[in-house]
């Protein structure tokens, strides 16, 4: 089955007119397909195609991880999924509440998928959803057309992993305390030892702290015990070796934590903190401006409580 898909994609590359819907995917492990998003901000041209999207197929059902940043993109992603598998999409798992991961979700809900997310995800979408929609309309214009919010109905509680059986393939979902956001969720496939990390892992593109830096550092420690061999980041390549893939992010976080602690101890006020802490040249991250500065502010206001 995978072979036929690969040939199909080869033909696309060879110049045959591609069906308008197909998003490029890579099969990173048997039955695990990844579409990589772009390292950009939202534009009308990219339709919110910023995050990695994943399809996992069993023998009876398919599970999709994340839905893209607009309805239009969600439609294309569903079409792509339908080209890759005839199996019903039983589950759409949302790794967290950020718009580039959730705004295509209504497409999958309407197609009959059960939306699964962190126990706090519903509330997060309720509270931030209107702002995201406003921002998307402003940033994407017509490309945001038809985008609406969809809410998860199957929650995963912190400390209580959920197993979903796709027919001969059982995947495990785990919800975490606040790290990247307060709604972070991962999917682990024991069959191929593949960890779908969502935005707990950023590669190439700078991580964004919209949760707790110390919490994220703790969660990275917890992830180390997962018996994975490869990991799919929320932003970055389709797959990378586990656990090395986390090294650059961990290094950045530890440096940020220690440096901001030093600033606070030296009574450097917030008004001066960002200028005082430029990104070290040996740390290469895309989109570092303005996100690194934002991370400094987030770390500073968090660590002030210590």
């Amino acid at each position: 089955m995978a072979g036929a898909r690969f040939v199909f994609l080869l033909l696309l590359l060879g110049g045959l007119p591609a069906p308008a819907s197909a998003l490029a995917v890579e099969e990173v492990a048997p039955g695990i397909f990844v579409h990589t998003g772009r390292h950009e901000e939202f534009t009308p041209e990219n339709r919110g195609d910023l995050a990695n999207l994943v399809l996992i197929t069993g023998s009876e059902a398919a599970l999709v991880v994340d839905a893209g940043g607009s309805r239009l993109l969600g439609e294309d992603w569903l079409e792509t999924v339908r080209e890759l598998t005839d199996l019903p999409v039983r589950y759409l798992v949302l790794t967290h509440h950020h718009p580039d991961h959730i705004l295509g979700a209504s497409v999958f809900a309407q197609a009959g998928a059960i939306l699964v997310g962190h126990e706090r995800l519903s509330r997060a979408i309720r509270e931030r959803g209107p702002l995201y929609l406003d921002n998307m309309r402003r940033l994407m214009g017509e490309a945001a057309a038809g985008t609406t919010l969809a809410f998860p109905t199957l929650p995963v509680a912190i400390g209580k992993p959920l197993r979903l059986d796709l027919g001969g393939r059982e995947v495990e979902l785990r919800a975490f305390p606040t790290a990247h956001t307060d709604t972070d969720l991962i999917v682990f496939d024991p069959m191929t030892a593949t960890l779908v990390a969502g935005d707990l892992l950023f590669m190439e593109r700078i991580p964004v702290i919209d949760g707790r830096l110390l919490g994220w550092i703790r969660v990275l420690e917890a992830l180390e015990s997962i018996p994975a061999r490869r990991v799919v980041p929320g932003h970055g390549p389709a797959s990378a070796p586990f656990p090395e893939a986390f090294d650059a992010e961990r290094r950045y976080f530890l440096w940020l934590r220690d440096s901001v602690r030093d600033l606070i101890a030296a009574d450097v006020p917030l008004s001066k903190a960002v200028k005082a802490l430029p990104l070290p040249p040996q740390m290469h991250w895309l989109l570092a401006a303005p996100n690194h500065g934002r991370n400094v502010i987030a770390a500073y206001t968090e660590l002030e409580w210590e």
Partner: protein, 260 residues
Amino acid sequence: MRPSVLFLLCTAFAASPAFADEDNWSIVREALFEGREIRDGSSFLQLEAPVRALDAAVVPVRIAVDPEHAPRIRTLWLVIDENPAPVAGVFHFFPKSGAPLLETRVRVNAYTDIRAIVEDEKGTLYMASRFVKAAGGCSAPALKDKEVAMARLGKMKFKLTTPFSVGKPAVAKLKIAHPNYTGLQIDQYTRQWIPPDYVTKVEVTFESEPVLEVEGDISLSEDPTFLFGFVPDRPGELRVRVVDSSERVFERSWTLGPAS
């Protein structure tokens, strides 16, 4: 005038066609100062704010007064023209304050002028302003972790950032745990406004004498934090009393003296 009342006024005026040509500053100015002259204070009044805010919900603003050239300041208004609640805070200073210094963090909702207006003992008003580029600071909840925020509600952290010395100006830092919920979001499930919940008053006293009073509103960032000055005349107790819009009251005190 209570800042929150001013907020309602502003939304009312914004909707009324009769005031459609008035900019927000004119409306706020009239409501706060009723036609009084406001002089240029830039020779002694230093207002620092980033030209482009990295995080619209946490914009550091610093106001300092050059003691050599400044009259004695009693009151400071911090105004953010384009915010739904444009009077971000009103700060009252006292003899124990020393030369007024204030650093805090505000929410900025749109590209806007931020203004510091001070009033001296004679009742003369002076102003300095800066233009800040930011967007969305008021309508987005800055709650990165709501569970932690609500569990921590009312906790405070206090630190002297300069050594304690009788008669010498000290700089203090006060951080108050509070979500400062703006009340400008709608819960998408219930279609109800999520109620505001924010710090309305902070009273700082040292040995029972006032050092700083703050009238706050939704434009102050989550976890209101203030850097301020005071001149201790002896070792003693610094006390902070915080009131919020839900009428909760929090009090804490710290003993200050030379480090031993």
